[in-house]
Symmetry: C2
Subunit: 390 residues, 2 copies
C-alpha cells in the first residue's frame, strides 16, 4: 500500500428519529442557517418543515436558498454567497441530494475565501476556509454528505468540473433512510449506479495490494446489487433504503481508496455527457461502465474483473477470461434490470456530439485518463461509440 492519511470526522446521525439530535449539533455550529434546497420537493414531502422546525426550536434562524438545479450551476452558488453576506449566515444546511450539497459546499467555501466562486472550481483560487456544513441527505447517490468534494456546472463554458477541499467536509450529516422513500424508481436506479461507479472507480486498478479496501468494495457492490432492484421495485422498503444510504457514504468517503493510486476513469467521461446534454449523472455512468470494462479487457486486466465477478455476482471460479466476460455482461444486465436506459441514444445524446465530447474530455484531463488502463482521446471516443446504441 501507499502511505496515506485518513481523517473523516463527519458525525453521522443515522435513522428515523434523529432530527432533534441534528438540530442540537447545528446549534453548536451557528445560529443563522442558510437552508439550501432544490426544486421544492423537500417542501412538498415535509422534510423541509421537519428540519427547519427542529432548528427553530433550538433557536437557529433559517434563511431559504431554494432552486438548486440537478446539475448545480455556478449562478446558484453566486446568489447563495450574496445571501450569506446579506443575512449574516454562519452555518450552511443543505437539504437534498448531491447536487444541493455540492452547491452548498461551494457557497460555504466561497463565502470565506472570497472572490469569484468559479475560480475555486477551476483551481485559480485556493480555499482558505469555509462556513461549517450540516447536511440532510434525501438521495442516496453522490456521497457528498461524507466527503470533501463537489461538482459544479458552468453552462456558459459547457464545463462540469469537480473540486475538493478539506474545509468543506460536512461537520454533521443526517441520514434518514425514510427521507428517500419518495425517490422515484428512475432516480433510485441512477443513484445506485452512482454509488457503484464510485466504488468501481476505486476498485479497478492494477495495483492490487490493497486487498482489504478491495474486499470492502466488493461488499459494498454486493449490497447495491442486492438492494438496488428491491428499492426500485418498492420505494418503501426501509431495509433497502437504509443499506443504500449507508453505502452511498462509504463508496466515496476515502476509505476505499486509502493506500491506492487514484485512477478515476468513467467519471471524467461521464461529465462531458451531462455537461453537453444535462443527462442524469448516474445513468451516464451506468451506460459507460460496462463498455469501458469491455474496452480495456485483456490478459492483464482480466484477473481483477474476474475477481469482481466472483465476489459481486457470485460467478463460480473457472477460466479467468471467461469469468471476466461474464462479469461485464452481468453488470450490464444488472443495470438493465433496474430499467436504466443502457444506450446514449436513449437518453437523447446525438451521434454528432461524440467526437466533440471525446475531445473535450481529453482536454479536461490533460490529454490522457490515467487509470486502470490509460485512455487517450481515441479510446474515449471508442467507448462513447460502443455506448451509443446496442
Amino acid at each position: 500500500m501507499r502511505d496515506f492519511k485518513f481523517h473523516v470526522d463527519t458525525a453521522i446521525l443515522f435513522g428515523e428519529d434523529q432530527a432533534r439530535a441534528f438540530a442540537e449539533e447545528v446549534k453548536k455550529l451557528g445560529s443563522r442557517a442558510l437552508i439550501v434546497f432544490g426544486g421544492g420537493s423537500v417542501k412538498r414531502n415535509g422534510i423541509y418543515d421537519t428540519i427547519t422546525s427542529a432548528l427553530k426550536e433550538e433557536g437557529v434562524e433559517c434563511v431559504d436558498h431554494g432552486g438548486i438545479e440537478p446539475n448545480p450551476r455556478i449562478e446558484s452558488v453566486v446568489s447563495g454567497v450574496e445571501k450569506v453576506k446579506a443575512e449574516n449566515i454562519d452555518v450552511i444546511v443543505p437539504i437534498g441530494g448531491g447536487s444541493t450539497i455540492d452547491a452548498a459546499k461551494l457557497i460555504a467555501a466561497a463565502s470565506v475565501t472570497g472572490g469569484d466562486p468559479w475560480d475555486i472550481v477551476v483551481k485559480k483560487a485556493r480555499v482558505t476556509g469555509a462556513l461549517p456544513l450540516a447536511t440532510v441527505l434525501t438521495l442516496s447517490a453522490t456521497g457528498s454528505e461524507m466527503d470533501t468534494s463537489s461538482v459544479i456546472t458552468n453552462p456558459e463554458t459547457k464545463e462540469k468540473l469537480g473540486w475538493a477541499s478539506r474545509h468543506v467536509l460536512p461537520k454533521v450529516s443526517l441520514l434518514n433512510p425514510a427521507y428517500t422513500k419518495t425517490v422515484s424508481p428512475y432516480q433510485t436506479a441512477s443513484g445506485t449506479a452512482d454509488i457503484m461507479s464510485h466504488t468501481m472507480e476505486n476498485y479497478f486498478s492494477l495495483n492490487d495490494d490493497a486487498f482489504l479496501q478491495d474486499s470492502f468494495a466488493e461488499g459494498l457492490l454486493r449490497t447495491c446489487v442486492h438492494y438496488g432492484p428491491i428499492a426500485v421495485e418498492n420505494g418503501d422498503d426501509i431495509e433497502a433504503r437504509s443499506n443504500l444510504m449507508w453505502a452511498s457514504s462509504w463508496a466515496i468517503n476515502g476509505l476505499l481508496n486509502t493506500g491506492k493510486s487514484q485512477a478515476w476513469s468513467v467519471h471524467p467521461m461521464e461529465h462531458e455527457l451531462s455537461a453537453f446534454f444535462d443527462i442524469t449523472h448516474g445513468v451516464g455512468l451506468a451506460i459507460l461502465t460496462p463498455r469501458w470494462l469491455r474496452h480495456l479487457l485483456n490478459e492483464e486486466t482480466a484477473p481483477k474483473i474476474a475477481r469482481f465477478g466472483h465476489h459481486v455476482f457470485d460467478i463460480p471460479k473457472k477460466d479467468t477470461m471467461e469469468m471476466a466476460e461474464e462479469a461485464i455482461d452481468r453488470l450490464h444486465d444488472f443495470f438493465l434490470s433496474m430499467n436504466v436506459p443502457m444506450t446514449l441514444e436513449e437518453v437523447g445524446i446525438t451521434e454528432d456530439a461524440l467526437e466533440p465530447m471525446a475531445k473535450a474530455c481529453a482536454d479536461h484531463v490533460g490529454g490522457t485518463i490515467k487509470g486502470f488502463v490509460d485512455l487517450h482521446e481515441e479510446d474515449i471516443l471508442a467507448i462513447y461509440k460502443a455506448s451509443f446504441k446496442n
Copy 2:
C-alpha cells in the same frame, strides 16, 4: 437498521514514512508527552528512538513510562497517573500494542477525571475528560488505536474488565506496518485471531438487515484468512503486514456494528481465561470461537454461519446446514494452520478451573450473555469443556 451515531475522528497516518507527520500532530496536542510502552522491545528494535527523536525535533519533551504488562494491570495505570501529575504531562503517547494503548487510555482518563482509576473500569466513576492520546501501533490486533475502549486487569480481584469512553478515542494514530515485522509468528497468529474475533462478534447476530456492514465484515475476514498465514510464514511481507494492520482498526472502530445490536459473546468468555491464567487473548478467542459456533448451531443460526462460510472460505452453495458445519471446521482448521494451539489444555488451563471460570463469566455478564444465541452459565461451561481438549 437501528438508529445510530457514527463519529470516528481519529486521524490515521498510515505508512512507512509518517513519523515526522505524527510528531507534528502531537505538537498540536501538547508539549510534554508521557511515552507509554511495554517490556522494552520498542527500545531494542529502534521504534522508541524513531518516535522520541521526531517528537524532540518538534520540541515535545518525553517522559518514559515503560513496563506495561501484556494484560495491562491497574498498578501500571496508577503509577502512570502519578507520573502525569509529577511531570506536568499534557499528552499521552503509547508505543505498542493494544495492552499498552489500553493502559494509556486509562492513564489519560484518570488523570483528568481524578479518583481511583479502577473506579472507572468498574463504572463506579464516570469519565469527565481525558488528556489527548496519540498512539504508535506495533501490533495488529486489538484495534485500540481507533476506538474508545480499553481492557484492564486487576490481579488482586482476578478481574479483567472492559470500559469505554468517547474521551479516550485517540486524536491521531501512527500505523506503520514495518513496525510489526518483528512480531513473532505466535503473536501474529494471535493478533489475527483477535481481529477476526472482533469482526465475528459484530457479524454473528440474528438481526440481519445490516447487509452492508456484514458484507464489510466478510471482506475483512477474507483479508485475515488470506494474509494471516502469509505474515506468520514470513514476518517481512509488507503487503500482509499492511493489510492486517489496517484491518485491525476497522474490525472494531464502530463501523461494523453500526445499526446492529451489540452482542459480544466470545470476548466475555475469553476474558475469564486470561484473568485466571494470563494466557494470550487472541489465542483464547481462537480456541473458543469454533466451539461457540458449534454449540449454537441450529436451524435458526445455520443460514448466517453458511453465509459466513460462503463469503469468507469460498464454500460453494449447497445444503445450508452442511455449509455451516463446513464453515466451522474451516475456521478451526484455519487457526490450526497458523499454528495456534487449539485446546485450553495446551495453553496450560486446568480442568478444575472450568467451572469457577464459567461461574465468574456468568457473574460478570449479569447471568446471561445476550448474543447471537443467549448463553447461560451451563452453556458457557459446555463451551469451555468442548474447548478443553480434542
